[in-house]
């Protein structure tokens, strides 16, 4: 995957996102209960999945760092998680908008996925605080990697916890998986999901390239000093 050149990725992201926008706003049918404004849900779900993919990717790279001593893995893990956090923020934002549309309030505790994302968001923000609180070096890489692994274990555990806690909260309201989930809805969802994944990967490669350049510049400055 590393051999796909960045310009090609950028162009495909652009194309896919544009296509997704077209499908979401013009092609997909209106939702029966909520009407036009429900369409944000396509983005919400695909961004959420892309964010999960970033967190899992970050944890995978963290494992490679700890286990295989891959020297590139620390930076890759960090950038993955950074992208995950950005997409996670978008999840919370789109989720909030969707909550306002569906229930009239900017936040609801009854949506499992939203609450899960909040917990994860806080977790990965702490990841960044951890990272900024340690000087760059093998120790920072190790601590970050270990914490990233904790995060990926937390994802299913939190999900189970939130489902358990439903006993005391309002039962879940229907979302996307209803009797009409087929046809154009499915197509639109797949396109927007593909768009978000490719976009995430593009941004990941972009940031990684930039950070690698910084590191090389620093090394060169060292050698010349």
């Amino acid at each position: 995957m590393r051999r796909i050149p960045l310009p090609a990725l950028a162009v495909s992201s652009l194309v896919l996102v544009a296509t997704a926008l077209v499908f979401v706003f013009y092609v997909a049918p209106n939702d029966q209960t909520l009407g036009f404004s429900q369409r944000i849900f396509y983005f919400h779900v695909s961004i959420a999945f892309a964010a999960y993919a970033c967190f899992v990717g970050g944890a995978w790279k963290a494992l490679r760092h700890l286990w295989k001593r891959d020297p590139r893995a620390d930076l890759e893990s960090y950038v993955c998680i950074h992208q995950g956090l950005i997409f996670g923020a978008m999840v919370l934002l789109t989720g909030s908008i969707w909550a306002k549309i569906s229930w009239g309030r900017w936040w609801v505790w009854s949506e499992d996925e939203l609450v899960l994302f909040l917990v994860l968001y806080l977790f990965y923000c702490a990841y960044f605080m951890l990272r900024f609180s340690v000087d760059p070096g093998p120790q920072r890489a190790n601590l970050s990697a270990v914490y990233a692994l904790f995060g990926v274990v937390l994802i299913p555990v939190s999900f189970a916890a939130i489902r358990l806690a439903r006993e005391f909260l309002h039962p879940r309201v229907f979302t996307l998986h209803g009797p009409n989930f087929g046809g154009w809805i499915l197509v639109t969802y797949c396109i927007s999901q593909a768009a978000m994944l490719v976009l995430a990967y593009t941004l990941y490669r972009l940031e990684l390239g930039g950070k690698r350049l910084d590191a090389r510049l620093r090394d060169l400055r060292e050698v010349l000093a």
Binding site: L66, V119, L120, L122, F123, C125, A126, M129, L130, S133, V134, P138, Q139, N142, L143, A145, V146, Y147, L149, F150, V153, L154, V157, S158, A160, A161, I162, L164, A165, E167, F168
Partner: protein, 212 residues
């Protein structure tokens, strides 16, 4: 097994240190009592059983954080972490020993906190005590691990709550659920699963936390 002998030697050291210093445990006891009083004023009237259970668990969590923040202080202030890391014992023994010692202090604090809770608020039932035990394991295991991580950073005490609270969320769900639900078994099982899962992760990765 020599691993457990190492854990025993280290845990004994930790308990001795606290018994001599005598600052963490009294602080935790006073803190718990003070927090209950604050809760009473924060939620005036007669709170329901669900609400007071929430009080208890928030109080336990933050009291634990108080103790956890102090866990690696001797190692940090006197740089004795180096001495432990140099030793040929498995590094995870350091984590396990410290967790067990912290567990002892937390349990001691709860021996006072639970009767106080019954006095101030509501009676408790067997499932809640079981929940306390299981939750303590998770809190001390994960909290001690994160405490060791926080100690090597610049932010130190600031960082531990940030690192710990998202991970503590499932513990709170399990503990509160077991305390008030009609079928506490599910929640207790969940707590046990959490403890086991994270204990394995902590045990396997402590090695990397101490490497410089």
């Amino acid at each position: 097994m020599s691993y457990f002998r190492d854990v025993g030697a280290l845990a004994r050291k930790d308990l001795l240190l606290e018994l001599r210093a005598r600052d963490t445990l009294p602080a935790m006891l006073l803190f718990v009592a003070a927090v209950f009083v604050i809760f009473h004023f924060a939620l005036p009237g007669t709170p329901s059983r669900l609400e007071t259970t929430g009080f208890l668990w928030v109080a336990i969590l933050f009291t634990a954080l108080l103790g956890l923040g102090r866990a690696f202080v001797p190692e940090r202030e006197q740089r004795t972490f180096d001495g432990l890391v140099l030793a040929p014992c498995d590094r995870s023994a350091i984590w396990l020993a410290k967790s067990l010692a912290t567990l002892a202090f937390l349990a001691a604090a709860e021996v006072v906190a639970l009767p106080l809770y019954v006095l101030f608020f509501h009676p408790i039932r067997g499932a809640m005590v079981a929940a306390v035990l299981l939750a303590d394991l998770g809190i001390c295991g994960v909290g001690t691990f994160l405490g060791a991580m926080a100690v090597v950073t610049r932010a130190r005490d600031l960082l531990l709550p940030l690192l710990f609270l998202p991970l503590a969320m499932p513990i709170v769900v399990g503990a509160v659920g077991a305390s008030v639900s009609a079928s506490p078994g599910r929640y207790l099982g969940f707590l046990a699963l959490y403890d086991l899962l994270f204990a394995v992760v902590c045990w396997a990765s402590f090695e990397y936390v101490v490497a410089e």
